[in-house]
Symmetry: C2
Subunit: 375 residues, 2 copies
């Protein structure tokens, strides 16, 4: 019998927190008052246990609960259910972290490619990778393909669809993917260096599979998927059963959760197979703090049994001017995603993108793999 | 060209809210500063628009944004992406409501059975339905089947798996479903009245399909699924492509969202095909207010184009003693789910369950279909 150790942050008065912790342990295991448990196996091996309650700041307590691995059935969806099924409905409870026992962890393959695999695919060592996005949505396929060509020509490593690109009338998935992949290959013939194009897959499970097939037939070698949007169980199954190329995870819909961002983006997305994870960096137009970003990156790269490291992809309002600072913070084992700051250049897109690419290479010379801020 | 009208609750200082509203409209449409939009079609037909900003209490503003239906590609996952993809990462933004234009709404079948279909299946008119749960998890199959028999014998309409029951070693899905369905049928031969057993499906999309097949082969006529846990797009596809019986939606994992509960549970779950929706009622062990519960119920039953009404299922700590009050509030078109309050009876489970069933029937005589509180 092994147990998961689950950390919740619980907002409660000191006098009530012990009772709330015990209620949480019951809610997330047997969902019954302890008086209604008559079976000895259930009482001993299934009922959740309060491991510790530690007071933190501002009326928040760190409550650690132990849940029986047996209750997960070694299934991802059921594991999420055990971690935060009913307790997600309690506004005073946040899911902060989880430690998986070896038998449950062994069930998850994690990233198939990870940082090393993405580096090999892109042919990049010794510096952070660069990433740009095809947008805005609403442009026709030819315009998106042109953008893709310009980014590839300027030396961007990974060119991704905006996560808002789906299968819309103005740029249908199949036509867009073929055109953008061809643009990459045309640029490769001109420059001698092949960028990677990552189209955005979105939809119900059958749509995801069919989009993945279309993309692979077009020669695509990386895919973008938002695990929280399509559902983490559907994402994990897509990765395991269908995708044979690295997967870039987008955080869309993932913030709509009372779960800590380092847990969701850094740990869970990695656990279910993301080879790279996009997240909103501090200092941009989102509100994640420098500390939160540091924790996301730590979770994505920390040694973790057989689970490969995932490439952190800071994004969300990074400007070209901020590249040196961003590289210093995240270190070389990262991929910088710059969007609006390039596209705002209009006619000067090629030059502006080249500045970005050069600045990343230059900034890299002075930092370590993980960056001093995270060493 | 039609538009979705999306209501967000935004926490912001008065002086900044206009700028934040415009940033939100850009974030949820083109994800670029307006200066970077050069294409006239994008500027006119794709860029989101601020419809209104109204000040509410406590520094919260009701911000209504219009988003182009075109951007959804008429796909559920992409619609969720447009509604709350990136903005879910903004802690000051809550997704409060959405109004779908007819062309997008037409794409969603809604409940196939709805309140009327569930009533027909259960053979119940003129009173609220009753529901009990098989738990705690950890019990062997035979014990769960015994519980099921007792509930059926006592006259419960719908007997559902605890949502914590998955495919665990101690009560494997296939064996459990067959045994519980047989218990229902044995009880039907004894009492002349057949209860409905709803097993809990949980897992990745392929596991959901295979569980659904096993359940149908066993004669099951209702299924329990948690849309937020398996992912709403996977849920919708399961309902449309595989399930030919009513679906009871469980709110597990759905609270882990900065989206209003009436929107998620009452409106979205209904839109994607839930025939009945479980939610934590006020006065129990969850913190939903009476107002929130009233709004969930209103959303689940309000007339809405071709979309059938969904049966509201209040749960989460309802005791037998509270039945009259609960029936008065929710009215006859509801299903009362009582769990722990029955199972705490131990040896007196049959009698206690009969009291519950009788009390629901009696309480029903004095109320209308929708309940005075919601009329």
């Amino acid at each position: 019998m092994s147990w998961l150790s689950v950390l919740y942050r619980v907002r409660a008065p000191d006098a009530k927190v012990q009772a709330i912790a015990h209620a949480l342990a019951l809610e997330q295991s047997v969902e019954l008052p302890i008086e209604a448990i008559h079976d000895p196996f259930v009482a001993q091996d299934i009922v959740g246990r309060v491991e510790s309650v530690r007071k933190q700041d501002d009326g928040v307590h760190a409550v650690t609960i132990r849940l029986a691995t047996e209750t997960t059935g070694l299934d991802l969806a059921q594991t999420l259910n055990m971690l935060f099924g009913n307790s997600s409905l309690h506004e005073h409870v946040e899911l902060a972290d989880v430690s998986l026992p070896p038998d449950l962890l062994a069930r998850f393959p994690g990233p198939r490619f990870g940082i090393d695999g993405v580096r090999r695919l892109c042919g990049v060592a010794g510096r952070p990778l660069t990433c740009a996005a095809l947008k805005p949505q609403g442009l026709p396929v030819e315009r998106l393909a042109e953008l893709c060509y310009t980014f590839a020509q300027a030396g961007i490593d990974v060119i991704k669809d905006d996560h808002g690109l789906a299968d819309q009338r103005y740029s249908p998935f199949a036509a867009r993917v073929v055109a953008c992949q061809q643009a990459i290959e045309r640029a490769a013939r001109a420059t001698g260096r092949r960028a990677i194009y990552a189209p955005s897959l979105v939809g119900a499970p059958s749509a995801l599979s069919s989009q993945a097939r279309i993309a692979r037939e077009a020669g695509v070698r990386m895919m973008l998927v938002a695990p929280a949007l399509v559902g983490m169980p559907a994402f994990a199954e897509l990765v395991e059963s269908t995708l044979d190329v690295p997967v870039l995870a987008h955080p869309a819909f993932a913030g709509a959760a009372r779960m800590s961002p380092p847990l969701v983006i850094g740990k869970l997305f990695r656990l279910i197979g993301a080879d790279a994870v996009i997240f909103p960096s501090f200092g941009g137009r989102f509100s994640y703090s420098q500390h939160t970003c540091g924790e996301i990156v730590r979770e994505s790269r920390a040694p973790w049994a057989h689970v490969k490291a995932t490439l952190p992809v800071p994004a969300g309002g990074i400007t070209v001017e901020r590249v040196p600072e961003v590289v210093r913070f995240y270190g070389n084992d990262s991929m910088l995603l710059v969007g609006g700051s390039l596209l705002a250049a209009g006619e000067r897109l090629l030059e502006r993108t080249r500045e970005f690419v050069d600045l990343v290479a230059k900034s890299a010379e002075r930092v370590s793999v993980t960056g001093p801020a995270l060493a």
